[in-house]
C-alpha cells in the first residue's frame, strides 16, 4: 500500500510543479520591468581557507557586466589559516590598474560564515547586498539579471540557478543533476511565492529588507535557508531568476559530499523546528505546500527509503536468478505497483529534462540522469541517517 502512496505522491509533485510552471511562468515575466537606473550593489564574499578557488571567484566577480561605479566587492577573510588572504592581496595587486571594480579585503577572527557576511554587510552602504560563496563564479550577465527582479516592488530577495562547475567525478555529475532539479523547484516555488532557500553561491537582497529582518543568524549552520524562512515569515517575496547562472565547486568525493549534506540536513531539521509555525494557510502556498513537503522529505521519505534498502538487502541473498528463462521471469516479476513506480520514474525523467531546459543552457546527459536515479535513492537515506546520528549525539557541525 505504501508503495502505491509513494508512486502517487511523486507523480503528483511532478504534475503539480509542471502545471504551476506552465500556468504561471508567463504572468511572472510580465511583472518584471527594466529599471530606470541600476542600483548600487555590494558583493560580499565570506572566505575561510579558500586559497584553492578564491582567485577564480574574484576573476568572475570583476568580470561582471555592471557599472564599475555602482559595484563594490568585499572579501571577508574569516580567520583563514591557509593562503586565502595572500591570494586576495595578490589579486588586488594584479588588478590595481585594470578597469575592474575595486576589491576590499577585511580579515577577522573565525566566527562562521554568517558572521563574515554580517561583517561585510555592515561595512558597505549599497542598496542591494549580493552574497557570493568564495568558490562560486557568477556568469557576467547574472548580476544585472538578478537586479532586474527588484523592479517588482514586492521582491525582497532574488536567487539564481546554481550549477556545478566543470563536473569531473561521478559524485559531481550526480550533483549536477541534483542542482538542475533544485533550480527548477526554486523557479516553480518562486511562481507561488514559496522559495525556501537563498543559495549561498549567489543571492541578492534589498538592504532595507535586511535592516528590517535582521542580520544573518550566526547560530545556524544553514544561514541561507534560515534567511529565506525568515523572509517568508515576514511575507517578503523571494524571486527566482533562472537565467542568472552561478557555477560552484561541488564536493568531488563521497566523504566531502557526506560532510556537506549532513550539515545541510541538520541545518534544515533545526530550521524546520524553529519555523514550524509557518505550517499555516496564512503563509499561502508556502505554508500549505512547501513546508509540509519539506517535512515529508525530511522525516517520512528517508524512513521509506531505508525500508526499501532493507528489503533489497534482505531479499537479495534469497532471490534466485532463472537465467534459462530470463525474459519470462522479468515479465512475470513485474507487479502493478512496479508499473506505477516506473510511471513515476518516467515522469521524473521527463520533468528533469524539462527542468534542464528552464534552468540550464545545456541538456542533462543521459548518463548523469541514469546515475542520479540509480544512486540517489541510496545516498539520500544514508546522509539522513548520518545527520540524525550527529544531531542526536550533538556533534559539532563543520563549515566545510
Amino acid at each position: 500500500m505504501i508503495e502505491y502512496a509513494i508512486a502517487f505522491l511523486f507523480l503528483y509533485l511532478t504534475v503539480f510543479s509542471l502545471l504551476v510552471y506552465v500556468e504561471r511562468s508567463g504572468e511572472k515575466r510580465l511583472a518584471l520591468r527594466p529599471l530606470r537606473r541600476l542600483p548600487s550593489v555590494a558583493v560580499i564574499v565570506p572566505a575561510h581557507n579558500e586559497q584553492a578557488g578564491i582567485q577564480q571567484s574574484l576573476e568572475s566577480l570583476t568580470a561582471l557586466d555592471y557599472p564599475r561605479r555602482l559595484i563594490e566587492i568585499t572579501v571577508v577573510d574569516d580567520g583563514s589559516t591557509d593562503a586565502t588572504r595572500q591570494k586576495v592581496l595578490d589579486f588586488i595587486e594584479a588588478h590595481k590598474i585594470s578597469r575592474s571594480p575595486a576589491i576590499r579585503l577585511y580579515s577577522k577572527k573565525q566566527g562562521g560564515k554568517s558572521s563574515a557576511l554580517n561583517y561585510g554587510i555592515a561595512r558597505t552602504k549599497s542598496e542591494i547586498v549580493v552574497t557570493v560563496d568564495a568558490d562560486s563564479m557568477p556568469r557576467p550577465d547574472s548580476l544585472k539579471k538578478l537586479v532586474t527582479a527588484f523592479s517588482d516592488p514586492t521582491v525582497a530577495a532574488a536567487v539564481c540557478s546554481v550549477h556545478v562547475h566543470e563536473p569531473r567525478t561521478a559524485i559531481q555529475w550526480l550533483q549536477s543533476v541534483e542542482y538542475v532539479a533544485n533550480g527548477f523547484i526554486r523557479t516553480v516555488n518562486s511562481l507561488i511565492d514559496a522559495v525556501e532557500v537563498t543559495p549561498g553561491p549567489l543571492s541578492a537582497f534589498r538592504r532595507s529588507v535586511l535592516r528590517d529582518v535582521g542580520p544573518f543568524d550566526e547560530h545556524t549552520i544553514t544561514e541561507d535557508q534560515e534567511m529565506a524562512l525568515r523572509l517568508q515569515s515576514r511575507h517578503y517575496r523571494i524571486a527566482a531568476v533562472p537565467s542568472a547562472y552561478v557555477y560552484t565547486q561541488a564536493p568531488p568525493t563521497f566523504r566531502a559530499l557526506l560532510r556537506q549534506r549532513v550539515r545541510w540536513i541538520r541545518g534544515g531539521m533545526q530550521n524546520l523546528v524553529r519555523y514550524s509555525h509557518l505550517l499555516h494557510p496564512q503563509f499561502g502556498d508556502f505554508g500549505v505546500y512547501v513546508v509540509p513537503a519539506a517535512l515529508f522529505f525530511m522525516v517520512v521519505l528517508p524512513l521509506l527509503f531505508l525500508r526499501f534498502i532493507y528489503n533489497v538487502v534482505v531479499q537479495l541473498p534469497t532471490a534466485s536468478l532463472n537465467l534459462s528463462d530470463p525474459l519470462f521471469n522479468l515479465f512475470v516479476g513485474i507487479e502493478p505497483v512496479q508499473i506505477l513506480l516506473l510511471t513515476s520514474m518516467v515522469a521524473g525523467v521527463i520533468w528533469l529534462l524539462f527542468a534542464s531546459r528552464v534552468v540550464s543552457d545545456k541538456n542533462v546527459s543521459l548518463g548523469a540522469l541514469g546515475l542520479y536515479f540509480l544512486v540517489q535513492p541510496f545516498l539520500f537515506p544514508l546522509f539522513w541517517a548520518a545527520s540524525v546520528f550527529e544531531e542526536l549525539t550533538r556533534r559539532k557541525p563543520s563549515w566545510e
Partner: protein, 215 residues
C-alpha cells in the same frame, strides 16, 4: 534644508499578497489520478496477460501429448513399429524440457500472483494432470518399445518445507547432467484437490515433502 541623500533606484518594497493555489492543487490531483488509474489498468491487464501466456503454453504441450496418446492407442492394437518408437523417443525428448519450463513458469507465476490465486490453482491442476498422464504414458511406451529412460517423481510443498529448495536444486543438477532423465514434480499441497497428485502420492507411499521417488 534640501536632503543630500540620493533617491533609491528601486521602488519601495511591499509585502506579498499570499494565496493558496487551490485550483492548481485540485487540477494536479485530477491529472495524477487519471495517470494513476491508467497505470493500474495496465497493471491489471498485465496480470491477466501473464497467466494467458502460461495457459497458452500449457495448451500447446497438451496438444502434443494428444498426438502421443494416439500412438499409444495404436500400440494397444499391435506392436509399435521401430519408426513409431523413434517418434516416441523424439516426442519424449521434446516434451520433457518444455514441461519442465512450463513448471518453472507456473512456479514464477505462483510467486507473483500468490498460491491462492484462482487462475494459478486452475493452471496448476491442469498441469499436474498433464504431468501425471505424461508419466503413465512414458511407463507404458517404455514397456512397448523397450527404451531405457530414468524417471524421478518429485513431491514438494510450498508451505513450510525448507528442505524442498535444496532437493529441487539437486534434481536440477541431475537433469542438467543427464538429458534423458525425466522429472515429474507435484505439489503435495494439491493432494486434497487433485486426483493425479493423490493417486501418485498414495501409489508411492508419499506422506511428506520433499520426497524423490526413482523409477
Amino acid at each position: 534644508m534640501p536632503s543630500n541623500k540620493k533617491p533609491s533606484a528601486l521602488p519601495v518594497v511591499e509585502p506579498v499578497q499570499r494565496r493558496v493555489s487551490v485550483r492548481t492543487y485540485v487540477l494536479a490531483f485530477l491529472i495524477t489520478s487519471v495517470i494513476f488509474v491508467v497505470g493500474l489498468y495496465l497493471g491489471s491487464q498485465l496480470q491477466l496477460f501473464k497467466s494467458d501466456v502460461v495457459e497458452s503454453q500449457l495448451q500447446s504441450v497438451q496438444a502434443r501429448t494428444a498426438a502421443f496418446e494416439f500412438l499409444t492407442a495404436a500400440s494397444a492394437a499391435q506392436p509399435l513399429s521401430p519408426a513409431a518408437c523413434q517418434l516416441f523417443a523424439q516426442e519424449t525428448g521434446k516434451n520433457n524440457p518444455d514441461t519442465r519450463q512450463l513448471g518453472k513458469r507456473l512456479e514464477a507465476l505462483e510467486r507473483s500472483s500468490g498460491a491462492q490465486d484462482a487462475k494459478v490453482i486452475e493452471l496448476k491442476n491442469t498441469y499436474f494432470y498433464l504431468e501425471a498422464r505424461d508419466y503413465y504414458l512414458l511407463q507404458l511406451l517404455k514397456n512397448a518399445c523397450g527404451a531405457a529412460s530414468s524417471v524421478r517423481l518429485y513431491f514438494y510443498s510450498n508451505t513450510n518445507c525448507p528442505a524442498c529448495s535444496q532437493a529441487a536444486t539437486q534434481l536440477e543438477a541431475e537433469a542438467a547432467a543427464d538429458p534423458s532423465l525425466s522429472i515429474y514434480s507435484f505439489d503435495l499441497d494439491y493432494a486434497t484437490r487433485n486426483a493425479a497428485v493423490r493417486q501418485l502420492a498414495d501409489q508411492n507411499n508419499v506422506k511428506s515433502a520433499p520426497a524423490v521417488i526413482e523409477k
